[in-house]
Subunit: 168 residues, 6 copies
C-alpha cells in the first residue's frame, strides 16, 4: 500500500489545499493530511478546529485521513511509517523554500522521507491562507476562496471586530 502525508498549517484550509488533496488522493492508496501544531506562530484557529474543518471538507474522499503533529515532519512520518510527503507549489519563491525543506528532510531521514510536488491549479494559484484572513478581516468576500463551512467559521472569528471594519 502506497501512502503519503500532506503536511501544512491549514489555518484555514482553502480551495487551493482541497485541490491538492483531491489530486493527491487519486495518486496514492491512502493520504494523511496533517495539521502542523507550530508553537512559534499564533494561529487564527486551534489545531482541533483546523482538523475539524479538514474533516468536514474532505468527507467525500474515501482514502483521506486527517491528523496533526508537533515538531519535525521526519519524526512524525517515521512514527506513521510513511515515506512520501506532498507539497503544493504556486510560485518560484515557494519552490526555492520548499526545495530547501525537501532536501533537509531527505538528509534528516536518511533518505526515508522523499517529497513530491504538485502545482496548484491555475484558478487557485493566487490563493493562500494569509490573504483569506486579511480579506475577511476587512470585511471582503471570501466565498470564492474557501468552502462555505470554512467561510462561516472565519466570519465568526472576526465577528466581534465588525464595528471597526473599514467599510462604507
Amino acid at each position: 500500500m502506497k501512502e503519503a502525508i500532506y503536511p501544512g498549517s491549514f489555518d484555514p484550509v482553502t480551495y487551493g489545499h482541497i485541490d491538492v488533496i483531491r489530486r493527491a488522493a487519486c495518486m496514492f492508496d491512502r493520504l494523511l493530511v496533517s495539521v502542523l501544531d507550530n508553537k512559534a506562530k499564533v494561529p487564527l484557529f486551534t489545531v482541533d478546529e483546523r482538523v475539524k474543518m479538514l474533516q468536514d471538507v474532505t468527507r467525500d474522499i474515501e482514502n483521506v485521513e486527517i491528523g496533526c503533529f508537533q515538531g519535525l515532519l521526519v519524526d512524525y512520518a517515521r512514527k506513521q511509517n510513511v515515506h512520501i510527503a506532498i507539497r503544493g507549489l504556486r510560485a518560484v519563491t515557494d519552490f526555492e523554500y520548499e526545495l530547501q525543506i525537501a532536501q533537509t528532510n531527505r538528509k534528516l531521514s536518511g533518505g526515508n522521507l522523499d517529497t513530491i510536488f504538485l502545482c496548484t491549479s491555475l484558478e487557485y494559484a493566487y490563493l493562500n491562507s494569509s490573504s483569506v484572513k486579511e480579506i475577511a478581516y476587512f470585511g471582503g468576500d471570501i466565498s470564492a476562496l474557501v468552502p462555505p463551512e470554512v467561510a462561516a467559521r472565519v466570519k465568526e472569528k472576526y465577528g466581534d471586530r465588525a464595528d471597526e471594519r473599514p467599510r462604507s
Copy 2:
C-alpha cells in the same frame, strides 16, 4: 477621463517612488497616489506626515493628487471610482508577490480593478524605504536615495539616537 491609483506605504517616499509617479502621471489623465494606513505595522512616519511629504515632492506634477486609505484597496478604489492600480516592479521576488495581489484584487473586485506594472528605472532598482531607514539609523548618507526635504525629516526622526550611532 482615465484615472489610476498608485497605492503604497511610502514610509518614506524615495526617488524610486517618484520615478514611478512621474512616469505614470504621463500615462493617465489623473493619478491618485494613496498612502496605505496599515494598522498591522509600526511606521516611522504618521500617515499625515507621509501625505505631506508626497505633496511636497510632487508639487510640480499637475495631475497628481495625494490621498490615504485603510482596509482593502478594492474597497477604496470602488469608492474613488478608479479601475486601474499601478505598482512598481524591481525584482523577481517583487513580481511574484505583486502578481498574487493583482490576481486577488481582480477577483475581489469582480474584474473592476486591474493592475499595471512599471519597472523601476535602473538607477533606483536597489532602493527601498526599509534600507533608507536602516542606512539613516546608522548615520549613513541617504542624499542619493530620497529628496532633500525627505532626508531632513528622516534625520529629525533619528536625531535623538545620534549618540549611540556606530560612527567613528
Copy 3:
C-alpha cells in the same frame, strides 16, 4: 488622447493575447495592436494573415486598431507618435526578458517610449503561440486555447500533414 501599442508576433493570436487586448483597451483611448514582421524567424502565418485574424477577433472592441511593423519598436512608436508599449507577463522568465527589452527601449527612445506590463489572467497563464502550434501539429484539440476562426486556420495549415499525425 492617451494611446498605447501592444506589439507581438501573434503567430497566431491566442485567448491569452485577447485577454490582454481587452483589458488594455479599457485603460487607453486607443490601442494599436502591432504585428512584428521578424525576418529572422519563419512564422506559420504571414503578416497579412496574422493582421486579418487579429482584426476578426477584435472586431467588437471599438478603440482597437491592428497594424504591423518591421525593425525596432522605438522607431515604429516614434512614427506613430505613441509613447506607451504594453506587454503581457506570464512568468518570472518572461519578466526578466521583458524587463531588459523595456529598459533598452527607454534608453533607445531617449525616455519617449515607456512599457507597462499586464499579468495574464490565470486561466491563460499556461498559454503561448508555440504550444498552440505544437499541439495542433500533433492533432491535439486547441479549441480552449484560441478562438474558433483561428483554430480553423491553424488546422488548414497543418491539414496536409494529417496523414503523418501520431494519432491512434
Copy 4:
C-alpha cells in the same frame, strides 16, 4: 495498481535521471520510463540506443519498464492508461517551463493526466545531457556524470573527432 510515466529525451541518460527513476520507482507500483522521439531535434543517440541504455542502467529495479513515444504525451499516456507523469526539477527556470507543460497537459487531457515533480538530488543538480555531450566532445571526463556503460557509448560516438580535440 498505481502507475506513472517518466518521459524525457534521455540523450543520454545521466546519474540525475537515474536518481529520479530510483526514487519514483519506490513511490508507485509500476514506473514507465519513456523516450520521446522528437523529430524536431537531431539527437546524439537513436531512440533504440537510448531505450537500450535505459534498460541496461535500470536492470536491477524490478518495477521499471522502458518505452518510447512520438507526439503528445497526453495521447501516449491515454493509450497506456496512465494518469501520472513524473518530472525532475533542478532549478527555477526548469520549474516555470515544466509548470507550463504540466498545466497544458492537464487541460489537454481533461484532467486525466496530472504531473508530479521530484527535486533532483543535490549531487546531480548541475547535471544535464547537453553538458555531458559538450564535455565529452571536448575530451573531458564524464565518469562522474553517467554510468560506465553510457560513458563508453558516448566516447564511441565522439571517437572519430579525437584528433581535433583541444587537449594538451
Copy 5:
C-alpha cells in the same frame, strides 16, 4: 596585499559557511570573517560566542582572521581599509536580496566596496543557520550540518528544553 571581508550573522557557523571561508581564503591574501552584531535580532549565541566558534573551526586556515562589527558594513570596511566583500549564494531568492545589498553598498561607499559572490557547494546548498536551530530545538540530528564543537554548543543551549522535546 589583496584582502576581503566575509560578513554574516554566523548564529551558528555551518558547514556551508566554512565551505565559503575555505574557498575565499584561497583567493585572497587575507580573509576577515566578521560577525554582524545586529541589535534588531535576538540571536541564539552572543557575538563573543560566535567569534569563538569561528576561531575554533578556522584554526587550520592561516590567512583567516575573525572580527565583529555593528552598524553599516561600508563603515566597518572603510575603517578596516578593505574594498571587497564576499557573500555566498544558495538560491535565486538569496540572489535578489544580496544583489540589492551589494548595489546599495557600492553606492554608499562611493564605489570603494565591491561584492563578489561564491555559490555554495551543492552538498551544503540546503543549509542555513535557522534550520540548524529549528532541527536542534526539536531534538533532530545536526551532526551533518555543523562541526562537532558547534553541535555540542547548540545542544547545550537547548539542553534545558530537553524534557518538552517532541521525541518518541
Copy 6:
C-alpha cells in the same frame, strides 16, 4: 600572485563587460580576459577581431591581458595555471545557468577551478552583445552601449545592409 580568468564571447565587448573587467582588475594581481572560440556559433566578429577590440578598450588597465581559447574552460585554466574564473551576473536567469556551469567546472577540475560572480552595475544591467547587434542591424544608436571604436566596427559590419534598413 593571485590571478583570475574572465572568459566570454565578447562579440562584441560592451560597456557591461568593461565594467566587470575594471572591477575585477582591482581585485586580483593579474586578470586574463579570454575570448571563447565557440565553433558551434557563427559570430559577427572573428576571434582576432574580438581580441583586438578588447586590447583597444582595456589599454589603460595595466594588469589586464587578452587571450583566447577553444574547448573546455577547465583545460584552458589548467594550462594557464589559473584557479579563479570570473563571471558577471545580470539577472536571475543568468544566475541559474551560470551556477550550473560553475558547479560543473568545479567538478571537472577536481576543485582546482572556482568561479566568483560580480553583479553588473545597474546602468549596464539591460545590456548584452546580442541586443547591441540587433539594434545596430536596424540602424539604431548604440553609442551608449559600446565604446566608440567598437561602435565604428559594428557599423562597418552592417554597412552593406544600410539600404535595407527600416529607417524613415
